[in-house]
C-alpha cells in the first residue's frame, strides 16, 4: 500500500513533467518559426537629407564619415570643411540669392536634413518658396548651382549656375505613388 502510494506519486510526477514539457514545446512550435524575423541590430551605412550635399561638399576622405555622423553632430564636424569647399568651387563667393554669406550658407547645409512645410507649398525652390520640401519635379541641382555660383543677384557665372536640364525624362503621376513606372 505504502509502496503503491510512492509509485503513484512517481507516475503523477512523471506525467506532470512530461505534460509540462509537451506543452512548452507546443508553444515554441507555434510562435517560433512562423512569421518573418525582425530581430538583430542594424548599423548605419548611408543617410541623406538635402540633395547632393555629400556629393558636392564633402571631401573624398570624409564621405563615409559624413554618412555615419548623426545630423545633430554634422554642423560642428563639417561646417568649416563645407566653407572651404564652397570657396574652392567659387573663389569669388560673397553672398548668394538668399543673402547668406559663406559661413551662414555652409552652416545651414552642413546639418543635412530636409525641412518640410506642414502648412503650405512644399518645394526646394519654386521662384517664391525656398527650402520647404522637395517635390519630384523640383530642379534641385540648378537651385544649388545658382546658390553656389550665382552671386547675390543670381547673375554671376552664368555658365555654371544652371545645368540646363530642367525636367525628368518621364512624366510624373498625379496620384500615389507619383513616381513614373520604370523604363
Amino acid at each position: 500500500m505504502k509502496f503503491n502510494n510512492i509509485k503513484l506519486a512517481a507516475i503523477a510526477l512523471l506525467v506532470s513533467l512530461s505534460a509540462y514539457n509537451c506543452n512548452n514545446d507546443d508553444d515554441n512550435n507555434v510562435t517560433g518559426p512562423t512569421g518573418p524575423n525582425f530581430t538583430g541590430t542594424y548599423a548605419q551605412e548611408d543617410q541623406m537629407g538635402r540633395p547632393a550635399i555629400n556629393t558636392v561638399f564633402v571631401d573624398m576622405a570624409d564621405k563615409n564619415a559624413f554618412n555615419t555622423t548623426i545630423p545633430s553632430n554634422q554642423g560642428a564636424a563639417f561646417q568649416s570643411k563645407f566653407e572651404a569647399r564652397l570657396l574652392a568651387l567659387n573663389p569669388g563667393y560673397t553672398t548668394n540669392a538668399l543673402t547668406w554669406d559663406a559661413p551662414t550658407f555652409t552652416g545651414a547645409l552642413a546639418t543635412d536634413v530636409l525641412t518640410v512645410s506642414l502648412t503650405g507649398t512644399t518645394t526646394f525652390f519654386d521662384g517664391t518658396n525656398v527650402l520647404t520640401g522637395r517635390a519630384l519635379a523640383d530642379d534641385v541641382i540648378s537651385t544649388e548651382l545658382l546658390l553656389i555660383f550665382g552671386g547675390p543677384m543670381g547673375t554671376d557665372n552664368p555658365g555654371l549656375s544652371d545645368d540646363n536640364v530642367d525636367g525628368n525624362d518621364k512624366t510624373f503621376l498625379s496620384s500615389f505613388p507619383y513616381l513614373a513606372t520604370p523604363h
Binding site: 551605412e45 541623406m48 548623426i70 546639418t111 506642414l118 498625379s174
Partner: protein, 220 residues
C-alpha cells in the same frame, strides 16, 4: 578607333574615379553601388489630399532596364525615415521599412528606441503595415491601411542632372568650364528601387514644419 577607345577610357575614368554621382547616388565608397545606397529622398504635400504628406526613399541607382527585373530590395537592409518635429535635428519619430519574402514591411511612425547609428526593428511595439513589392513588369500595387498609403518596387529615377558635364567642369586642365545648353540628363532611361509612404501630416508633427532624413542600416 584608337581615339574612340581613349575617349571611352576617359569617360569610364570620369565615372569611376570621380567621387560621386549626384544627388546621393554612389556618394561614398562604403555604399557605392550597393543595396544600401540611398540615391534620393523627397518630401512633399500629397497631390490627392492636402492633409497628407508624402515621403520617398530611393535606393540602388542607375539600374538599366535590362537589369531591373533582377533588381531587389535587400532583406538585410533597413530603410528608416527619420522625422524631427521640434527643430533639433534629432529624430522624434521613425518609419522603418524592410523587405521579407516579397513584401515590404513598415513599422511606425513611432519614437525610436534609441537615437544614433544603430537601430532595432520595432516590430513588437509599432503599427505594422505591409505591401506586396511590385515586380518589374507587373501593375503597380498600392496598399492603403491605417490612413496611410504604401508602395515598394522599381520606378523611373525621378532625378535629373547633366552629371557628366559637371564632372568635366570640375576636372582640371581640360578646357571645359561651363554647362552645355541644352544639357543632357545623365539619369535618363535609368531606374531605382523606390519606397513611398503617404500619411496624415498630423501623424508626423503638429508645428509648421518637420525636418526629415533617411538612413539605411545593415543587419549585423
Amino acid at each position: 578607333m584608337k581615339k574612340s577607345k581613349i575617349l571611352i577610357g576617359a569617360a569610364v575614368l570620369t565615372i569611376a574615379g570621380f567621387f560621386a554621382i549626384a544627388a546621393d547616388h554612389i556618394d561614398a565608397p562604403a555604399v557605392a553601388g550597393g543595396t544600401s545606397d540611398i540615391t534620393d529622398i523627397y518630401a512633399f504635400q500629397s497631390q490627392e489630399n492636402n492633409n497628407n504628406i508624402v515621403f520617398v526613399a530611393n535606393v540602388q541607382g542607375l539600374i538599366s532596364p535590362a537589369d531591373t527585373d533582377a533588381a531587389a530590395f535587400d532583406e538585410n537592409v533597413l530603410v528608416e525615415f527619420n522625422i524631427d518635429n521640434d527643430g533639433d535635428a534629432v529624430a522624434d519619430l521613425v518609419i522603418q521599412a524592410t523587405p521579407r519574402d516579397g513584401k515590404m514591411y513598415f513599422f511606425g511612425p513611432i519614437a525610436p528606441s534609441q537615437s544614433g547609428l544603430n537601430s532595432t526593428i520595432l516590430s513588437s511595439t509599432a503599427i505594422m503595415n505591409t505591401v506586396d513589392i511590385t515586380s518589374y513588369s507587373a501593375s503597380t500595387i498600392v496598399e492603403s491601411n491605417n490612413g496611410m498609403n504604401f508602395f515598394a518596387g522599381p520606378r523611373d529615377d525621378p532625378f535629373f542632372m547633366d552629371f557628366f558635364r559637371y564632372g568635366d567642369i570640375l576636372t582640371p586642365d581640360n578646357g571645359i568650364s561651363s554647362f552645355n545648353d541644352p544639357g543632357t540628363d545623365s539619369f535618363a532611361g535609368t531606374n531605382v528601387m523606390s519606397i513611398v509612404v503617404e500619411l496624415p501630416k498630423a501623424m508626423v508633427g503638429s508645428g509648421d514644419s518637420v525636418n526629415i532624413w533617411v538612413e539605411s542600416k545593415r543587419k549585423q
